[in-house]
């Protein structure tokens, strides 16, 4: 049996880190390597991990894409946790080598499932990821085939890999191939990184409405 994958958590909410730690420890194939509030802190503490579960929106002023790059430069794969509020940050981080983007509020079993799969180095296309890409106006000009667009659109409706494969009458492996190419193409879309505020403001300009909290 292979060594369990070492998984660390970077989140500036202690509660999230601790809960993720519990979740990770509960699986035989995973080992909780520790947590830190920032990527710099993680590296400063010398925590080594095969996979880092990273909060999309840290409050240290860092950029999600920079955080992913820094973690990958240290040899870790990255999975991103989001609160699912902002498609712009999801798009930004999707251009990096991040393997999965998961909403914090999905049932713990699903979060764990994604962690296990990305720990094996497998890209996991989640609804969160697919919706952000599928609705990105920049994707219209990307050199994607009709079938690839179809795959992305189906994922974006909320279907899982198996349901997508069934709908298209192909194997799940074929769907995975499509996903790999979509990821590559999207990463190559030339668009400069942005500050969080700028991303947010672009959201406002695009009609992404401020939150009606009542």
């Amino acid at each position: 049996m292979a060594e369990p994958a070492r998984v660390a958590v970077v989140d500036d909410h202690e509660l999230v880190s601790l809960a993720m730690g519990e979740l990770i420890s509960s699986h035989d194939d995973l080992e909780f390597a520790g947590h830190a509030p920032t990527v710099r802190e993680l590296h400063a503490q010398g925590i080594r991990a095969d996979l880092v579960v990273l909060d999309l929106n840290l409050r240290d002023g860092s950029q999600p894409s920079e955080n992913v790059e820094a973690l990958r430069a240290h040899g870790a794969e990255v999975m991103v946790l989001t609160s699912a509020e902002n498609p712009y940050l999801v798009r930004e981080v999707s251009r990096t080598g991040v393997l999965g983007i998961v909403r914090k509020s999905v049932p713990p079993a699903e979060v764990l499932d994604v962690i296990v799969r990305v720990a094996r180095g497998e890209p996991v296309p989640t609804t969160e990821w697919a919706v952000a890409l599928d609705s990105d106006p920049a994707l219209r000009t990307a050199p994607l085939t009709d079938r690839e667009r179809e795959v992305l659109a189906l994922y974006a409706t909320g279907l899982g890999a198996r349901a997508v494969a069934q709908r298209l009458h192909v194997s799940e492996n074929t769907v995975a191939d499509h996903i790999r190419r979509i990821r590559t193409m999207y990463a190559q879309l030339a668009r400069p990184a942005n500050t969080k505020i700028e991303l947010y403001q672009r959201g406002l300009e695009d009609g992404f409405l401020p939150p009606p909290v009542s």
Partner: protein
């Protein structure tokens, strides 16, 4: 005339002590007082003090009142309101009228020999200006007409209508008409600028309120995102072992909500330097901050969006430096500003990099720092780096040149006007009514001077100078042309000046005439009007110089011909007075504009900063209240030691979804979908609603249709996942709804 409202109409908001219109009315009232003083003193010297005459006491009181009332009005003018100014000038006119009635009662029966003519009948400009201030332009013109008619009646009764008096009355009339036209213009100019600046202020307020709302919402979004969504989604699932950590986080969230309004809005006037210092302390505490100022204008006055761009770019540049400069790198942030701009240098002595060798996708950050500044109006940015030689990012903002009003990127309404408003004739030219009136006045002037020339020819039998003078004045007006929006071309200016001086040279022509008589020099007054129009065309300096030349030449001509009658002095003095008054008004109008703009620039800056602050605070308070109402209770229970039972967890799930929908569900966050989603989450369905905008518009009816359809699909869902989504434009369907097993699509509405 297109507008005839009283000069202090509320539309010009003269109630505002800083309004230009109010200042114009004060200036005019002060001028009436000055004219009154000069004219009555001169009249007193010329004719003996009327008060000391044998007139009845009542009349003497009227004489004193006709001087005292306008003087008092002029003295108190700087401190009173437009309404009071109108009232004071009405009293002035009443005093004039009383004196006039008294004069008519006393003088007419005796043929006018015993009582001197009231001074304001020969200095008509004073009463008509008072009428203009009191009753508006129509009042001014009616008063002028009445006075002209009255003077003619008095002349005919006293059989005093020689060429001299005709010439005198003609130019008195035209001088008053000129003053009326220009004074009316001054008030109109002031009122238009008040209006333009009020509009610009409104626009500035709106813009900065928008910016403030964005900033406030962004703060709240970060809070909601970072604290509340995490707290609530974790609360729904944490194990009892983490109950303590959950309580701590809930308490932190509560505190943040409580402190949000007190933290105050992101304050535009808070001092840019202070904001920068806070930013540096947060993003790169090891960096050294240096501030140097080249002027007394603090960058605190930067427009909020400019300040925001600079700070965001600086934050990013610092973040880059911290991430990439390498260990031990020293960082400095340098802020320099002068009256017209700001320069921010973020420098480190770290490893630097070869900008050309960096792959395009890694240049994103630098590009966005530079691009962000460059896309800000007046903004610029530079990146300087070499491997081993550190990195310097320079961010700058400079007030756009020329557009003075836009100095802090704000005045949009008036700056365009300011750039073109170089001539006093601009407003006359812009108003068809005024243009017509001006043309009529000009024709009347030409007709009158032709008549005067004819009278002069009849008396002296000498036609040459009369014909030449009429032709020269007509040519002068022709060269000046219609009122334009730009200053008169220098060549035309030179021609007009040459024509005026040459006409004055007519007094050198050795012909037989009676130069001692005022009427023979009638054309000097005509030349004065030519020169006033020259000033109105944006050449006040040339007009004054030409007037001086005309005076000297005419006077010298009379002297050369050994004829030194006192009326030549009167004629040249009158000419100089007309030009002087005309140029004075022109300069007044120009100066008023410049001052208005200068003043408004500062005011707008304040307006913006204040509205930004107020709107942010309002927005934050309102949203905080909503948040507290929505989740205050649940947070309190989480922060306390309430048992994490199933109902509480369900509440957390429902609230987390509701807050998340506030962002991501976009236009789907409406009834009945909101309630359906809450109910479904309560049943344990993991509901995700998406409306990522792609720029396509949907009308309310269509959004209601989609929300209604999704709510119905959601109601059918018993458990598992549910994803509802508005599809991007160009897709075969309008919306989709997926549960664990199938996808359903809502077809587009049939047209």
């Amino acid at each position: 005339m297109t507008r005839d409202a009283p000069t202090g109409s509320p539309a010009g908001s003269p109630a505002d002590a800083r309004s230009s219109e109010l200042r114009a009315l004060r200036l005019l009232t002060a001028l009436i007082a000055a004219t009154t003083l000069v004219a009555s003193v001169a009249a007193g010297f010329a004719r003996g003090l009327p008060v000391a005459s044998a007139a009845p006491a009542g009349y003497r009181i009227a004489v004193v009142a006709a001087v005292a009332v306008p003087l008092v009005a002029g003295v108190v003018a700087p401190w009173v309101t437009a309404r009071t100014l109108r009232a004071l000038n009405t009293v002035t006119l009443a005093a004039f009228a009383a004196l006039l009635v008294g004069f008519l009662l006393l003088a007419l029966p005796t043929g006018g020999a015993a009582i001197p003519v009231p001074w304001f009948l020969t200095v008509t400009a004073a009463p008509v200006t008072a009428a203009l201030v009191a009753w508006g332009r129509t009042g001014g013109w009616v008063t002028l007409g009445a006075l002209v008619a009255l003077v003619q009646v008095i002349r005919s009764v006293s059989e005093d209508d020689t060429l001299d008096t005709v010439a005198n009355d003609t130019f008195t009339f035209f001088s008053a008409a000129m003053v009326l036209l220009l004074a009316g213009q001054l008030v109109t100019a002031a009122r238009q600028f008040d209006r333009a600046t009020a509009l610009a202020a409104q626009a500035a307020t709106r813009r900065s309120e928008d910016a403030a709302r964005t900033a406030a919402t962004e703060r709240l979004r970060l809070l909601v995102h970072d604290e509340l969504l995490s707290t609530l989604s974790l609360a729904a699932r944490v194990t009892p072992a983490l109950r303590g950590a959950l309580a701590r986080q809930a308490e932190r969230a509560r505190r943040l909500i409580r402190e949000l309004p007190e933290m105050g809005a992101p304050d535009a006037a808070d001092g840019f330097a202070a904001q920068l210092a806070a930013l540096v302390a947060e993003a790169a505490p090891d960096a050294r901050l240096e501030t140097a100022s080249g002027s007394s204008t603090p960058p605190a006055a930067l427009a909020p969006e400019v300040a925001e761009s600079l700070l965001a770019a600086a934050r990013q540049a610092l973040g880059n430096s911290v991430a990439h400069a390498g260990p031990g790198a020293r960082r400095t942030v340098e802020l320099r500003h002068d009256g017209s701009g700001v320069r921010l240098v973020v420098r480190d002595d770290g490893v630097g990099f070869d900008a050309n060798a960096v792959p395009a996708h890694r240049m994103g950050v630098a590009e966005s720092v530079l691009g962000r500044m460059r896309s800000t109006p007046g903004g610029w940015a530079e990146l300087e780096t070499r491997p081993g030689a550190g990195t310097t990012v320079t961010l700058g903002w400079r007030a756009p040149r020329a557009a003075t009003g836009a100095a802090a990127g704000q005045v949009t309404g008036t700056s365009a006007t300011a750039a073109t408003a170089t001539t006093a004739s601009l407003l006359l030219a812009a108003d068809p009514g005024s243009r017509r009136l001006f043309a009529v006045a000009l024709c009347a002037l030409l007709a009158a001077q032709t008549a005067l020339a004819a009278l002069a020819v009849l008396r002296t039998g000498e036609a040459l100078t009369a014909v030449l003078a009429v032709l020269a004045v007509a040519a002068g007006f022709a060269v000046l042309g219609p009122l334009g929006r730009t200053a008169l071309h220098p060549r035309r200016t030179a021609i007009v000046v040459a024509l005026a001086v040459a006409t004055a040279g007519l007094s050198w022509v050795p012909v037989s005439r009676d130069l001692a008589r005022y009427g023979d020099l009638w054309y000097l007054a005509s030349l004065a009007f030519v020169l006033v129009v020259l000033a109105m065309r944006g050449r006040p300096g040339a007009a004054l110089a030409a007037a001086a030349g005309v005076a000297v030449l005419a006077f010298a001509g009379v002297v050369v011909q050994h004829n030194d009658g006192p009326d030549v002095v009167a004629a040249t003095t009158r000419m100089l007075a007309i030009v002087g008054v005309g140029v004075g008004f022109v300069l007044g109008i120009m100066r008023l504009r410049a001052r208005t703009l200068g003043l408004r620039r500062d005011e707008l800056r304040t307006v913006r900063a204040e509205s930004f602050r107020a709107a942010s605070a309002r927005e934050l308070r309102a949203r905080t209240r909503e948040l507290e109402r929505l989740i205050g209770g649940v947070l309190e229970r989480l922060a306390g030691d309430a048992a994490l039972d199933e109902p509480l967890r369900r509440d957390c799930v429902v609230l987390e979804g509701r807050l998340r929908d506030g962002y991501r569900a976009g236009r789907l966050a409406r009834h009945p979908l909101i309630d359906a989603a809450a109910a479904a989450r309560g049943r344990g369905v993991d509901v995700a609603l998406f409306d990522d905008p792609d720029g396509a518009e949907l009308d309310e009816a269509e959004l209601d249709r989609i929300a209604g359809w999704l709510a119905a699909r959601l109601d059918e869902t018993e458990g598992g996942r549910f994803t509802g989504r508005i599809l991007p434009a160009g897709r075969p369907a309008a919306a989709s709804a997926a549960d664990d097993v199938r996808v359903r699509e809502l077809p587009h509405a049939s047209p």
